[in-house]
């Protein structure tokens, strides 16, 4: 058995080549746009302006070419928003996005084009990104023709090749999305992303909606594609098993920030941040037998009004005075590992 997670991955800082994808202090804020009456009221000081949702709040990390990075966290932690910023779906509010080591401001037309095309996204529900009235051959072949990567004449061959690559029978090319099962639809979504020859895939909960037996098929497909095409992966998931299986490194997010990042195996074996420990402890695993669950602790904060200091302190079993006042910075705790926790300063 070939272990993909054990494949040699160049450490970002050791390799001569710049990281494939990198973000530095990236933020994304969402604000509800007030209507005209509200704007007048705000101008007159009668009401407060609408609150700012800091979905992503100063996140930095780098992914090497061919590396698989997992992005883990619970709903509302900003992991999907972050993935969308990298895939060019969302515009960021602040910070830098570096493609092959070059900041966005320094991109020429060719690099800007590549940064868009070479990072493709795969969504949880492929049905929502497929036009139900369009045959799947047309859906898969649309983008490469539009971008001038292939001629109209070459399109059919490309589509047939892609369908074979993702495990779909090319004779289904004239079918509509509703004629496929969930797993097959996800394969269509993958073929469509691969059509523009991406170098990186951002998979946002790509297997979350699938049954276990179908999920295993799609995970195997992701591993095959990685080997065959040398793809870089950003794997966003709430499922720790999936992330453990597929990724080399993992970043744990909580309320818009990374609380811990490092090699997947090490973090799963010895988590440094109390939130990572809690996540790993709560996730049931097969073969552990019956267990007694622990009671509710602390209050889950709203991303609209994050608590002062460390965002996790309301639920952290080891929080102390400093956690309520000062937000901990992400700092190195071991080679290649970083965590954002005041406890590391005490040791």
């Amino acid at each position: 058995m070939r272990g993909l997670a054990t494949a040699p991955v160049p450490a970002p800082q050791a390799a001569a080549a710049p990281p494939h994808l990198e973000v530095r202090g990236v933020t994304k804020h969402f604000v509800r746009r007030p209507d005209i009456v509200e704007r007048v009221a705000i101008a007159l000081g009668l009401v407060e302006p609408p609150p700012v949702l800091r979905a992503v709040d100063g996140v930095s990390f780098a992914v090497a070419r061919g590396e698989a990075l997992g992005l883990v966290g619970e709903s509302g932690c900003g992991k999907s928003t972050l993935g969308r910023i990298l895939a060019g779906v969302h515009a960021k509010t602040g910070g830098d996005f570096l493609f092959e080591g070059v900041e966005e401001a320094g991109w020429d037309a060719a690099r800007a084009n590549r940064a868009r095309l070479e990072v493709q996204m795969i969504f949880q529900d492929p049905m929502s990104s497929l036009n139900p009235r369009k045959r799947i051959g047309a859906a898969i072949g649309e983008a490469p023709v539009a971008h001038g990567l292939v001629s109209r004449r070459e399109r059919d061959d490309l589509v047939a090749g892609l369908m074979r690559e993702v495990g779909l029978d090319p004779s289904y090319v004239r079918r509509f999305p509703h004629q496929f099962s969930g797993g097959q639809r996800q394969r269509i979504g993958i073929a469509r992303a691969l059509a523009v020859s991406p170098a990186a895939l951002v998979c946002d909960e790509a297997v979350a909606a699938l049954d276990v037996s179908i999920q295993a098929q799609i995970l195997n497909l992701f591993m095959d594609l990685r080997e065959r095409r040398g793809l870089t992966y950003l794997f966003i998931s709430h499922d720790l098993g999936v992330v453990e299986h597929l990724t080399d490194r993992v970043a744990i997010m909580y309320l818009g920030r990374i609380v811990e990042i490092g090699p997947t195996r090490e973090i799963f074996a010895r988590p440094a941040h109390p939130y990572t420990s809690a996540l790993l402890a709560e996730a049931p695993r097969v073969g552990q037998g019956r267990r007694v669950y622990a009671p509710l602790t602390g209050e889950i904060p709203s991303p609209l009004a994050p608590p002062p200091g460390c965002a996790f302190h309301t639920r952290c079993p080891r929080a102390f005075a400093r956690c309520r006042e000062e937000a901990p910075a992400l700092k190195d705790v071991a080679p290649g590992r970083a965590a954002a926790c005041h406890l590391d300063d005490r040791a």
Partner: protein
């Protein structure tokens, strides 16, 4: 030991224009008082339809065409709808994946809970309100006396599920059917809900049937697990034993499909193909077309084989056999 719930030969079919969908096709299940039973299966295995059948909640074109469901010895198939209505919510409660199936969005939690209490008991609205607040406190909702005035949309997903659980427990039912109640929740929230469920079931002595696609959750909770495939139970036994040494090739396949753990990074041993269409199931074992050890014998109906005391598998060639005693 007499069973609290006893289902024998249950068949729930849906007559559609395309043909008869045999969603539940020969289900046998016994649940003893106070027992926690897990039902595991993938989409389309019939696990939800089975629990809906118990409550008489199968809508046309679905129909129970054969079999019997006995609750405390009383036959529920073909029972008077008024009788079923009295049982539902009082003796048998159900928790759904989406709590908004239990809660109406247009009424305050208070109105809904008071109504649910007074539907089954003659108590004053005031007394009912006090009990509702107690019930909310019991499932871990902070400041229940104030939160009871809120509407469902003012709660988070996890809190809403707690409200649904509180309503399910209002009348201390003898049997709780829970259909994927934590599937839509985050792991830490799921852990809290599982904690509340474990505690409440232990306190009230209610029997719990936990329906889920997640084998790990079921194993962590249940005494006994039933694995469903294509409308019937293919393997049944103590949860820990089934997970440690599955007897049915489908259970084996499910366990091998789980990512993570010691073999992280390796290719997963997937189950080939996909779940069969319930419209035209092959004769014999429905799993045979995907089974790695299928033999010619599998074209005939598989027998229910006793693997060990309390353990059965519906397979011609179970992977483990009863140890010679």
């Amino acid at each position: 030991m007499s069973a609290l719930l006893e289902i024998t030969g249950l068949r729930t079919h849906f007559n559609t224009r395309a043909g008869v969908v045999r969603a539940v096709d020969g289900l046998d299940l016994r649940v003893a008082a106070g027992e926690i039973v897990g039902i595991v299966g993938e989409s389309g295995s019939g696990k939800s339809v089975a629990s809906f059948s118990v409550l008489g909640l199968v809508d046309p074109p679905g129909r129970i065409v054969a079999g019997s469901i006995r609750f405390r010895g009383e036959e529920l198939v073909g029972a008077d709808p008024a009788r079923l209505r009295r049982l539902r919510g009082r003796e048998i409660a159900m928790i759904f994946q989406d709590p908004l199936m239990t809660l109406t969005p247009v009424l305050r939690i208070e109105t809904q809970m008071v109504e649910a209490i007074r539907a089954h008991e003659r108590v004053s609205a005031k007394a009912a309100r006090v009990r509702a607040i107690e019930a909310l406190a019991r499932v871990g909702i902070p400041a229940p006396a104030e939160r009871i005035r809120a509407y469902p949309h003012q709660f988070s997903g996890g809190m809403r599920q707690r409200v649904a659980i509180a309503i399910a427990l209002l009348h201390s039912p003898a049997l709780i059917l829970a259909d994927e109640p934590t599937t839509a929740l985050d792991v830490t929230i799921q852990g809290q809900i599982l904690y509340e469920m474990q505690r409440l079931v232990a306190e009230t002595g209610a029997a719990l049937v936990w329906v889920s696609h997640d084998l790990a959750v079921v194993e962590s909770l249940a005494d006994r697990v039933c694995v469903m495939y294509a409308g019937r139970i293919v393997e049944e036994g103590p949860a820990a034993r089934v997970v440690a040494a599955p007897a049915h090739p489908y259970t084996r396949g499910l366990l091998d499909s789980l990512p993570g753990g010691a073999l992280a990074g390796a290719r997963l041993r997937q189950i080939p193909g996909m779940t069969p269409s319930l419209l035209d199931l092959p004769p014999g074992c429905p799993f045979a077309p995907r089974c790695p050890i299928a033999a010619p014998a599998c074209a005939s109906e598989p027998p229910i084989v006793a693997i060990a005391p309390g353990r059965t598998a519906r397979c011609h060639a179970p992977l483990v056999r009863e140890e010679a005693a």
